[in-house]
């Protein structure tokens, strides 16, 4: 385990990173420590309760101690930001720890975000190269991914829109995504409970079955229940996702290779999954932009599934920087175009950014210097 740096060393590292982000053209922004819980819950779902401290305000209702800066920074930009914009921030975030251990429940984050409509791949490369240079010399391992390729592959499947929507909704929950894909592709047998349900739905119209089920209670409307019942019956008749197509998707989910080799592999499967072509082109453009900034893309690690278990808003390029085993991530980030639409009340702008944990960086720096 890496010895934790002193508070002052962590703060000094944070100041160094914050100054570097400003030198890279970012405008410093402030964010509240107390954020309205509702916005975060609507975005991240109930899971965020396990990670964020919730408190209550007599007038404003449930509030959360800032679990990250993304939401307040995006909101600030969507409210009155000029375009393009680069922002940076520095401050504490708070994460409830549900397991005993030495994970910090309060730590500093320093972040950098780019809101730019032109050349998103260039912005991806700008952010990654900046992070890479700031973490140079620490032996940090970089890992990259691209959730956009996976999403494009799902959208391009030869299956019903309903199945595609179900898969897209669970991109960030790999276990359920896999269960759905296994079912849609016929790799897993239909669960007995679903077979029994379909048998029962076949005995009458949904309306009759609802009436026969006894008193109607609850807010979920009878029409919505009937609509899903009919959709289930239709779905059971829809053909399975064809084996070769499913095989390509399974292959994609497990793709891990150096970035340049991953690109060749993706180019190789594009003729069979033509829907991913635009996303693969963007991947290629990004690699060129990274190479132009001096990143060794021949050895840069790429995992197609990276970022699928983090906060569910990354929808394109993703990256992380790892220290030695057992240490939490030193830095992570990615592209979150869709999030700006959710928070922008009708407006949206492509956005990419990331955060560094300066206290971890300072600890690692002390270790590296001690070893010399």
């Amino acid at each position: 385990m890496i010895p934790a740096a002193s508070k002052s060393a962590g703060r000094a590292e944070a100041e160094r990173l914050f100054a570097a982000f400003q030198a890279a053209g970012a405008v410093p922004v402030e964010a509240d420590l107390l954020l309205p819980a509702e916005t975060l819950l609507d975005l991240y779902g109930e899971d965020i309760r396990a990670r964020a401290y919730v408190t209550s305000d007599p007038l404003q209702g449930e509030m959360m101690l800032r679990p990250d800066f993304t939401v307040p920074v995006v909101q600030a930009h969507m409210a009155d930001g000029a375009e393009p914009a680069r922002y940076c921030y520095m401050g504490e975030v708070f994460r409830k720890q549900e397991h005993l251990g030495n994970r910090a429940s309060e730590y500093l984050q320093v972040g950098f975000e780019v809101f730019d409509r032109d050349a998103p791949e260039a912005a991806d490369a700008e952010v990654f190269a900046l992070f890479s240079s700031l973490l140079a010399g620490l032996g940090a391992q970089a890992l990259t991914g691209d959730i956009g390729i996976l999403m494009a592959a799902v959208r391009g499947l030869d299956t019903t829109d309903r199945r595609k929507q179900a898969l897209l909704r669970h991109i960030w929950r790999p276990k359920r995504f896999r269960a759905l894909l296994d079912r849609f592709a016929g790799r897993a047998p239909m669960p007995a409970a679903r077979a029994a349900l379909l048998d029962r739905l076949a005995t009458g119209s949904p309306e009759d079955l609802i009436a026969a089920a006894g008193s109607f209670i609850g807010l979920r409307a009878p029409e919505d229940i009937a609509e899903r019942a009919r959709a289930l019956t239709l779905d059971a008749k829809a053909p399975l996702i064809k084996a070769p197509e499913a095989a390509l998707l399974y292959d994609l989910l497990s793709l891990q290779a150096p970035a340049r080799a991953a690109l060749s592999h993706l180019r190789g499967i594009t003729p069979m999954l033509p829907a991913i072509e635009p996303a693969v082109d963007r991947f290629a453009t990004r690699l060129e932009a990274l190479a132009a900034r001096g990143i060794a893309v021949d050895s840069l690690a790429f995992e197609a599934s990276l970022g699928r278990t983090s906060m569910e808003y990354y929808d394109g390029f993703v990256f992380s920087f790892h220290g030695p085993d057992g240490m939490p991530l030193l830095a992570s980030g990615g592209r979150y175009d869709a999030l700006t639409a959710v928070l922008g009340q009708g407006r949206s702008i492509p956005a990419v950014g990331g955060v560094i944990r300066p206290q971890l960086v300072a600890g690692l720096r002390q270790l590296c210097e001690g070893a010399i």
Binding site: R49, E98, R169, R176, P191, S215
Partner: protein, 233 residues
């Protein structure tokens, strides 16, 4: 002195007294009938502490009692990393109840967690808020739903009469303990077939953080009487 916390009233208290009594450790209330004080005969050095079953997990975690009898559901729900804070010594064979998820019987399209997840997505799109599940078991239910990849739901707190929340339109589904399922049926609810979150029963727990100094020897005697292995604490 070894302090043992037991439920202070009702069937849980009676059954606990019976279980210990059958093993030669007599527990009894002292003082007036409603007074929360008790005594233990049959083994020396044991002090009885009468507590609400819901507070016993917290007292164990704080190390203020060495042993405690309470529902395994309460320990798992109230204590983070429960197994690092307390040790399970014996399942007592009573107080059985399952923590389950139930939805209205009229939801003919929903029988499993998978269906609930899909219904939650459609519900949120139609109503503009996440499908509400009423419960008092927040940790257990949230961990279960997270592990099963369910999205678009919210937990709303319900400390009692949870089965009535759907009819009263304060929740769309519930997560609660049930033994016979009768109350659920009476309230027009059905259990999802794959939603047994935890099978609970009254259980004897030992605190890992209590001061076991002088109590350790008492524990060895008590464990011999009860016919259980003395915990390595």
């Amino acid at each position: 002195m070894l302090k043992i916390g037991v439920p202070s009233k009702g069937r849980l208290m009676e059954k606990t007294f019976e279980w210990f009594g059958a093993r030669g450790v007599t527990m009894r209330q002292t003082g007036a009938e409603r007074e929360y004080s008790g005594a233990v005969d049959g083994v020396d050095g044991v002090e009885l502490v009468m507590l609400s079953a819901g507070e016993i997990p917290r007292e164990l975690a704080a190390g203020r009692i060495h042993l405690g009898v309470t529902g395994s559901d309460l320990v798992r729900d109230k204590l983070a990393d429960w197994s690092l804070q307390v040790a399970e010594l014996a399942a007592l064979g009573f107080g059985h109840a399952d923590l389950i998820i139930a939805v209205p019987s009229c939801w003919i399209d929903v029988d499993t967690i998978d269906d609930l997840d899909a219904a939650a997505a459609a519900f949120r799109a139609a109503h503009g808020f996440r499908l509400r599940i009423a419960t008092k078991y927040h940790r257990l239910v949230r961990e279960f739903l997270t592990a099963n990849g369910v999205a678009d739901y919210q937990l709303v707190d319900s400390q009692g009469a949870t089965e009535g929340t759907v009819k009263n339109l304060t929740a769309e589904a519930i997560a609660d303990i049930t033994s016979s399922g009768e109350t659920l049926r009476a309230n027009h609810l059905k259990i999802l077939s794959d939603s047994v979150i935890h099978q609970s029963q009254a259980t004897l727990f030992a605190s890992r953080s209590a001061d076991w100094g002088a109590a350790r020897a008492v524990m060895v005697d008590l464990a011999a009487k009860l016919g259980i292995a003395a915990p390595a604490l």
